[in-house]
């Protein structure tokens, strides 16, 4: 394998891990969302350092072209992460809706209490 390609693979995988680690450190990413990216980064780094791993895995699974295994695994991970995000978005929306309804009711109650107390002052 061309040494430049070899270095490129390692650099890309390392960059991914560094970005995820830095975002975690800055609290811009929660652990539960980062776990997939950390796992993917570690696997990518392992394969970049030891390309033999990929060849071995492909042979084991009967995948003729090793890069196809990479594409397959990547797409599967991205697909699952997308579904997880959609599910989380749904639950966030429903919580936000709950909070909005709650806020509307509280505002009405504050208004009622204010009126009651101001009429109480007047009498």
């Amino acid at each position: 394998m061309n040494p430049v390609t070899y270095a490129l693979g390692i650099a890309a995988a390392s960059l991914t891990l560094v970005v995820v680690a830095e975002m975690l450190r800055r609290r811009k990413l929660r652990e539960r969302h980062a776990v997939w990216w950390v796992l993917a980064g570690i696997v990518a780094l392992a394969i970049a350092v030891f390309p033999g791993l990929l060849t071995a895995a492909s042979n084991l699974l009967g995948v003729e072209v090793p890069s196809n295994l990479v594409f397959f695994a990547s797409i599967a991970v991205l697909f699952l992460v997308c579904i997880q995000h959609s599910a989380e978005l749904t639950s966030v929306e429903s919580r936000m809706r709950n909070v909005a309804e709650h806020a509307a009711l509280l505002e009405l109650r504050v208004h009622e209490l204010e009126q009651r107390s101001s009429s109480g002052d007047a009498s």
Binding site: A100, E101, A104, L105, E107, L113
Partner: protein
């Protein structure tokens, strides 16, 4: 005994209805003495809330647009927390006649949800073309499902009795068309009885119903999807709700 007007909450979801809401609230309070009227301002950018309050209504303002379903859930929660026995949904654009509310309340003796139906022989409200067919298909299906003859399942005039009120305060659906179709499915699956009563409608103050076949097809498609999700969804039970305020002492 029908539910007394003093135990009834009229809920009006309103989105930018400053031209009509004042008159509708005033007419409602005049026609139905003793009734409470809650206008849920669903994220309006005009003076809807101010005008409704001046006309004598209670006003709850949603911080952003929740849709009719979300607005109605605010109304159901308010009714439950303040001990109302019935909720009647009335449109704030003036197309519903408040005088028909006692007719709906009378039927709550035998049913938990009463729909004010527009095509059931009273009045001259007409919808034609593909949209009519879309509404017919929905009504036919929901009639078969609930075992009651329903001719106008998308009507925005409906009364809810004490049992369905508790259910809806927790589970009123907020998705598109959920407030009309899915709510009936939820109510029926929870063991509530559904009935309809013919009412006369007035023409809408502004805007006309769509007669575009493509729009009607999209409407029917979305309605069918909403219906399928309602049917395959887990049945709702009356469970503890963590975000509840205590009723005012």
């Amino acid at each position: 005994m029908p539910v007394a007007l003093s135990m009834t909450l009229i809920v009006m979801p309103a989105l930018n209805e400053e031209e009509t809401v004042g008159a509708v609230v005033a007419e409602t309070l005049r026609e139905l003495p003793g009734v409470s009227c809650l206008v849920v301002d669903d994220g309006s950018t005009d003076r809807t809330a101010e005008i409704a309050r001046a006309a004598g209504a209670l006003v709850a303002r949603a911080p952003y647009n929740l849709g009719v379903g979300g607005a109605m859930r605010v109304g159901f929660r308010y009714a439950r927390d303040h001990g109302y026995r019935a909720v009647v949904q009335v449109d704030s654009d003036g197309q519903h006649d408040p005088a028909s509310v006692p007719t709906l309340l009378a039927l709550l003796d035998d049913a938990d949800v009463v729909i004010g139906a527009r095509f059931a022989g009273v009045g001259d409200y007409r919808v034609t073309g593909p949209r009519w067919w879309a509404m017919r298909v929905l009504s036919a299906f929901l009639s078969a499902f609930t075992g009651t003859r329903l001719t106008d399942t998308t009507s925005g005039l409906r009364a809810t009795g004490p049992r369905a009120l508790t259910l809806f305060a927790q589970h009123y659906p907020a998705e598109y068309l959920g407030d009309t179709i899915e709510s009936l499915v939820i109510a029926h699956r929870a063991g509530c009885r559904i009935a309809q009563v013919p009412v006369a409608m007035r023409p809408r103050a502004g805007g006309t119903a769509s007669h575009n076949p493509v729009k009607s097809a999209v409407y029917l498609g979305r309605a069918v999807v909403a219906l399928i999700f309602a049917l395959v969804g887990a049945p709702r039970s009356v469970a503890a709700d963590r975000l509840e305020p205590k009723a005012a002492p």
